[in-house]
């Protein structure tokens, strides 16, 4: 369809869709009354039953643990797919890595950036580990901590050149890390199936509320997810970095 016709057709369709959606929204319970059977019960149960004070993490990793297992494998499959699509093609040549912006001279990274970058790497990694470890006590968890850890790794690229990043973090080792994290989640589930009553059964010692080693297997799941997400995001971003900086289609090929 031509763009003019399409916009008209879309306008009519969007009117119908908006009417359909808004007519349902006005019948939703009063905003602020958010009372639901599941929500209220889980809010009161997760602390006594599982010694988890962050109820959202309790739901994510214990009550509805298999949803989060699926979610982690969605992330795993997306990283594998991006790796497949952005892998170096036979007609691409690895060019000497230079942050070339066509047409103007690019200054090397200044010392201030280099020092601050390196100085930030330590605290960022520590902060990421904190968020992963305290997932079941305070807001945060495997996914959020994993992304912070991945950004910690990328500070190395900001502070230096792409080669340093490539040297420090060999791709195969990171792939193994991501797979161990993903397989770890399923393995913890199988432990629950074999020794407990059902898949993902939290059979670990619950410990005392508020302590780091409380809530049975949930901290282990947090660590597995943190490892997988940190490694996955590093793979994701290095795939994009490699495409943006290093790979060029050999001229005269097309």
């Amino acid at each position: 369809m031509t763009t003019r016709v399409r916009q008209l057709v879309f306008f009519l369709g969007a009117l119908g869709l908006a009417a359909l959606v808004v007519s349902a929204f006005v019948r939703l319970p009063h905003f602020g009354s958010g009372f639901s059977i599941d929500g209220a019960q889980l809010g009161a149960l997760s602390v006594p039953q599982r010694h988890i004070t962050d109820v959202v993490t309790a739901i994510n990793f214990d009550y509805r643990g298999v949803d989060t297992m699926g979610e982690e494998f969605i992330f795993f499959a997306a990283v594998a797919a991006v790796g497949l699509v952005l892998r170096p093609q036979p007609d691409e040549v690895v060019r000497a890595e230079v942050d070339a912006a066509s047409g103007r001279w690019v200054p090397p990274t200044s010392d201030a950036v280099r020092v601050l970058g390196l100085a930030l790497v330590g605290p960022t990694i520590l902060f990421g580990l904190y968020i992963v470890a305290h997932g079941h006590l305070t807001p945060g968890g495997g996914f959020q901590g994993g992304v912070v850890l991945a950004t910690g790794v990328l500070l190395v690229y900001l502070a230096g050149e792409y080669e340093h990043l490539h040297g420090l973090y060999p791709e195969q080792a990171i792939k193994v890390g991501e797979s161990v994290g993903a397989a770890g989640y399923v393995a913890i589930g199988l432990v629950g199936l074999i020794w407990g009553t059902a898949f993902l059964d939290n059979i670990g010692p619950l410990g005392t509320i508020g302590r780091l080693n409380s809530a049975g297997l949930v901290p282990l799941i947090d660590v597995a997810v943190g490892v997988e997400v940190a490694a996955g995001f590093v793979l994701l971003l290095t795939a994009f970095l490699r495409q943006a900086i290093v790979l060029r289609v050999r001229e005269g090929e097309q």
Binding site: G16, L17, A77, V176, V186, F199
Partner: protein, 572 residues
């Protein structure tokens, strides 16, 4: 049996992680063997679940969180025969795709890991009893298949097909999630049985209608029903043939299964008074898809895209079974989905064989297409005839003639399109394939698939088992009582009589094959004499064959608005 339930999902997920982790060090041949073994074991496990769920639901509450007083906190697998059969179909098609793919070299360990996550997602999708868990497996299957469609990154058509598919399916997934949010706000639950109980005890209003429409549209986009079909023509037309086997053999029938599962477990109680009008709306969508798909298939020239339009048309035929909202129709859908899925997968395996880079064998592929066309036309002994017969018996006396006409006309036109391709390939100039022994993987697979479809048509008792499974799925109260372990108040199991299928399917099948062959031969004669089809014929189709993402999303919006209007009127 209950502790067996999570294994067909857990095993492929661990296999995916192992393949991804060790892929660098393990030779590709070993990785492929490992994938075949895992697919086979999942197939066996699903078959065991089919047998295990004959008499009662196989229930598995994850984390040990059993429901109390009708409130389910945890997530459950609630496996009935219908779901287990769907999982078995998925495992069969994935196994066939992996074996077909053994010949070519584009499939490395990472690609196999994506195939494993697709398998795990498809099995979990069929077995789960929780609506958000269904959405998570839906998304996992989508992301894995997006990656597989674009596995050959140098083929720009495949990348564009993957992009088109990713945008359409993602917007469909957002609609499903909005529907789930509305249902959660109304019922406060995410377990299918508990939501059904909560909804049935109240009056229906616009919120229920919008939730039903949004969730149905999301899964109809996944099933590639007209007007949400644009992505399948691109993706199946350009992806490697084994990936197209997954798309047409498994992905679209699972979309329809999800519509049936959610309707019967959640919405059937509240929409019982409006069932006749609702049936009409769904039949219009199904009939439209079957007829338009068949016309597009007849008109399309390129082989892969023609097979994709054949698949869209047959998805419409399957949706006819679901749209009847009746145990017989649903049993017909079950039998037809397995038989038709296997047939279409065999056709794409043949397409893989015809233009195989190293060992092209157009003649052998033409034979497979010929046999496949017989199955598409619904000729007994193929199980597709059994499926159509059951669907036909599901229709009430008033709608039966129209339904019969749509069923017959679509199968004939699609069979004619496939026979036309077979004739083309048969007269293809024979280049000598390099070596006689290599490259017969696809032939073994398509032969085996067609044999399964034929054998399944003659095994006695398939119809009775299918109708009993459909009775189980359509009996909402019994399902809810079994899942939530609440006393079953007066839920006597219904015994829909199995329709006796006389000689009628044989006559219809023969007529379809004869007419289809006539059409194909006639067209081939006119084309070889230089008669180009008149321009006026091809003009309207260009709108329905658009490859632009903007058009697809526009039709998605318009389709949702129209379906919303239809269902709103039905509930008036």
């Amino acid at each position: 049996m209950s502790s067996l339930a999570p294994l067909p999902v857990a095993i492929p997920l661990i296999a995916a992680a192992v393949l991804m982790g060790l892929g660098h060090w393990v030779p590709v041949r070993l990785a492929r063997l490992f994938a075949v073994v895992v697919s086979l074991s999942v197939l066996v496990l699903c078959a065991v679940l089919v047998v295990g769920s004959r008499h009662s639901l196989v229930l598995h509450w994850f984390g040990g969180w059993r429901p109390e007083a009708g409130v389910a906190l945890g997530v459950s697998f609630a496996i009935d025969q219908f779901g287990a059969a769907g999982a078995t179909l998925a495992a069969l098609i994935v196994l066939a795709a992996v074996v077909t793919w053994l010949g070519s070299d584009e499939l490395d360990a990472v690609g196999l890991a994506l195939v494993m996550t697709t398998l795990a997602a498809a099995v979990g999708f069929c077995l789960t009893g929780d609506i958000f868990n269904l959405f998570v497996f839906f998304e996992l299957m989508s992301v894995s298949v997006f990656g597989l469609v674009a596995i050959d990154a140098s083929h720009v058509g495949a990348i564009r097909g993957a992009l088109q598919m990713a945008v359409s399916n993602s917007v469909g997934a957002f609609f499903v999630l909005m529907g789930i949010a509305l249902l959660y706000a109304r019922t406060g639950a995410l377990n299918l049985a508990q939501m059904g109980n909560a909804l049935t005890s109240r009056r229906s209003d616009q919120l229920v209608v919008t939730a039903l429409v949004l969730i149905a549209v999301g899964f109809l986009v996944k099933a590639a029903v007209v007007p949400f079909h644009f992505w399948l023509a691109d993706a199946a037309g350009t992806a490697p043939a084994p990936v197209a086997m997954l798309l047409v053999g498994m992905v679209d029938s699972l979309g329809l299964y999800a519509v049936a599962r959610i309707y019967w477990t959640v919405f059937s109680g509240i929409s019982a008074p409006h069932i006749h009008a609702l049936r009409l709306v769904l039949l219009v969508v199904a009939g439209g898809t079957a007829l338009l798909g068949a016309a597009l298939a007849w008109e399309e020239a390129r082989p892969r895209r023609r097979l994709a339009y054949v698949s869209i048309s047959h998805t419409g035929l399957m949706l006819l079974g679901v749209a009847l909202l009746d145990p017989n129709g649903l049993a017909g859908f079950g039998v037809y989905a397995v038989a038709d899925g296997a047939t279409k997968a065999a056709l794409f395996a043949a397409a893989h064989g015809a233009d195989h880079p190293k060992h092209p064998r157009p003649r052998a592929a033409a034979l497979v297409l010929g046999v496949g066309a017989l199955a598409l036309a619904g000729l007994p002994p193929f199980a597709t005839a059994l499926g159509k017969g059951l669907i036909e018996h599901g229709a009430s006396t008033s709608t039966r003639p129209v339904l019969l006409a749509v069923l017959w006309f679509s199968s004939t036109l699609t069979a004619a399109a496939v026979i036309g391709m077979a004739l083309e390939w048969w007269n293809h100039p024979m280049e000598a394939a390099q070596s006689q022994s290599r490259g017969w993987g696809w032939a073994a697979v398509s032969g085996a698939l067609l044999a399964v479809v034929a054998a399944w048509g003659v095994v006695p008792g398939v119809a009775r088992a299918a109708v009993r499974a459909a009775d189980g799925l359509t009996n909402r109260a019994a399902y809810a009582a079994a899942v939530l372990a609440t006393p079953a108040a007066g839920t006597r199991p219904r015994q829909t009589p199995t329709p006796g299928l006389g000689v009628e399917p044989l006559l219809l099948g023969l007529a379809a094959v004869l007419v289809a062959t006539g059409l194909a031969v006639e067209r081939r004669r006119r084309v070889s004499h230089g008669h180009e089809p008149s321009a006026v014929m091809t003009q309207p189709w260009t709108i329905l064959k658009s490859r632009s993402i903007g058009d697809a999303v526009t039709w998605l919006t318009v389709g949702t608005a129209l379906l919303g209007a239809g269902v709103t009127l039905a509930f008036r």
